[in-house]
Amino acid sequence: MEARFECEIDKIETGVLLQDISFTYDLGLPQETKALSNINLEVRAGQHVAVLGHNGSGKSTLAHLINALLLPQEGNIVIFGREPSDDEAIWEIRCRSGMVFQNPDNQIIGTTLEEDVAFGPENLGLPQSELRQRVDFALEQVGLTELAQRPPHTLSGGQKQKLAIAGILAMEPSCLILDEATAMLDPASRNDFMDLVLRLRAERELTVINITHNMEEVLLADYIYVVHNGKIALHGTASDIFDQAELIRSMGLDVPVHIEIAGEIARLTGQPLQAAEAFSLVDAIQAVNCRLSDPPQARSGLTKNREAGQTFSPSTHDEFPERKTLVRVRGLSYTYNPDLEQSVKALSDLSLDIYEGEFLGIAGHSGSGKSTFIQHLNGLIRPEPGVVEVMGLDVSVKKNIRKVREHLGLLFQYPEQQLFEETVAADIAFGPKQMGLSPAEIELRVREAAELTGLEPALLDRSPFDLSGGQMRRVAIAGILAMKPDILVLDEPTAGLDPAGRDELLNYIQRLQEKGQTIVMISHDMDQLAGLCDRILVLKDGVKYLLGTPAEVFETEEAIVSAGLAMPRTKIFLEQLSKIDPSIRTDIFTPKEAARELYCHYQAGGEA
């Protein structure tokens, strides 16, 4: 069987070649939009290429072109020796390259896993015995053999994406295209998925084209193209690209944390980074250490920053007991399907207070009970057993529910999917209207909420469905803010946004908190939580595992890893450095502050 697989992969040097490709949607119509212009791109067979770009940069169009799902209006395109000139050639191109799409649910066709994997090979018209062989082999490769007869909707997001890979593997392609395949996965599933991709690439000699805005994935690739506004803005190896950290950031993309810190230190010390100097974590530490222990003499004026460095001290518990308790949770447990055999204990004996004005982060692996917990807070799930009180109102009393939901605004993941009104203003007004407020008051609240979330007044009369993803999400948040809740609860508010959209949204959230809004936020991004929150609750298998300030929660790596989470990346960097110099503080969670603190630390040390 192995031999048969190999002989089907022809040895063609060039896998994918795009020359002067341009693509315009709705060409010739009034609403025509240029997605790509003059793209030149080459992927050698067996290469792993990452295509990086913000949402709307045209990178997804590029993926569709490579799979002949769209055809270019200008330029030449050759995919594994084939040009998409006629139906037969297009079909062959699609047979040779498989594509994993962003939304795990929307690419599963079969009613069981097995049937879904068989879908592609069935279209190739293979005989039944061969279909059986390929399906079994593909499911085994991705580790889903045992679930072969299950209906796909019972899988987790990560499992669904692996199923998509199996469906492609069964077609024995030469090339795997990932179109933001990990954007909707949590970090643990994302790592798991990328490990699988790398393993398959090595074993099956696959060409991999990963279209993404995730920096960590980009670092896995051999070669990187950065797409910006429909053009290739940069291309090169990872170190070539990250030499241009400023440029990358200006295109609304992230720079890996260690490169950011090293770059910041280089700026402060006036010793610029050399190519490839800070590419890996080890290199970056080397670069930072070298600059700090051997500084140039000219460093006037910067010493004063020591003062600023001290303001980053972690907040302590002591300030909380005096604060007013807004939410009181006592002895909360919850079991899904308690009568059935497959009952799942989602929460057990959870007790917690949420104080006025605080920013509480909630972290935990998938299935740790985060979502179940926040649904208890506004009575979507009744506590049994246990007590949940919001502003003194018991949520298990039915007549309190309406009041509770006015006090505590809850926003689910991907909230833009719940918009429904004809205009942005009407959608934001939905909540206040349900509260029975006067039209004048509703109008006022809509304007205020729009302002708080940075929505321009001109947008208010537009349809919410004409807006960008990031804007739609802010409309959804405004819809909750217009109810003026005392507590704002957000379930992964930045999921699926690109770095620019994410930073913008976090900015607004941070501003809300500065105005005194109490916020509870679930996030998978530990850097985000550590940088923003006063306290963090870590759930593990439905149990309160850790609760404290970011410095306390991220004190020991062991505990965090055992909860299925990762340490914040800034913290990892500082921990590494502190192995060289133990006096370095490690309780800092944003790259900029870390760089300043390191610089000041050196300055103080240097003068002593």
């Binding site: 799902l69 079909w91 699609r94 047979c95 498989g98 594509m99 799409f101 939304n103 649910d105 929307n106 690419q107 599963i108 066709i109 079969g110 009613t111 069981t112 097995e114 049937e115 068989a118 879908f119 592609g120 090979p121 069935e122 279209n123 190739l124 018209g125 005989p127 039944q128 279909l131 399906v135 209906p151 796909p152 909707h153 019972t154 469906g167 492609i168 077609m171 899904y336 399907n337 497959q342 799942v344 649904q375 979507l380 309406r402 939901r405 006015e406 605004g409 926003l411 689910f412 999917q417 719940q418 918009l419 429904f420 939905f430 909540g431 349900q434 509260m435 469905f465 909750i480 109810m483």
Partner: protein, 270 residues
Amino acid sequence: MGQQIVLGQYVPGSSFLHSLDPRTKLISAILLMILSLSSMSAVSLSVLALVVLGLMLLSRLKIGLILRTIRPIMLLLLFAFLFNLFTGKGEIIFSYGYIVIREDGLVRAIKILVRLVLLVLSTSILITLTTTPILIADAIESLLSPLKRLRFPVHEISMMMSIALRFIPTLLDEMQKIMKAQSSRGADYDTGNALKRARGFVSILVPLFISSFRRADDLATAMEARCYRGGKNRTRLKVIKYSRLDLLFAAMMILTAVAVYALPIVFPGL
């Protein structure tokens, strides 16, 4: 969400009936339907009742589970029974004021009741309880395949059916999610008058429609990316096949049909 959504009423099992080809079951169910609707004699109905009893045993399902399938049509049964009970000619066997029950009416009412019950039981045992929805779709595709020559889109219809089956649980999950989200914004789907409730459903249906269109679009692209180009030259992993069991079952069904039609002629008095 963690909950399992049961599609249709399929009960997994490995009985004789479970292992029959879905086409056999579909045709047999139609045959039994015609038989029970077309026979009016007591002897024919008794034969059919015996056959249905036999099917119950062959399915190895709990009797209570099978009888529960009658529940949705209880009202219809009661209405049909009463309607026939008070009509007809013949000897009066009971009268109380305006209420008059004649022998003829009573017999017909009982027969109608038995016919309808047999009809529902035979289809639920043969189809809904022992055949997965996807196999039913396959059976329909296979049985309709001669119509392909008339350019009837048999493959497309069966593909639509199976995609619908695949997405029903996903859409139910999504609907729940949207309801929770709108409830969090103060929407109330339980109280208020009909108009208010109907308006409430707009806040669920609009997002659900929009997401369904997006899903349909995504799915079409995903299917094309996996080389789908209609039913032409397409093979199947699971091919439904007739076995010896089907032959046996078909023989039983033919025998039933002969008995149902012949016995009233042989014993005209019954």
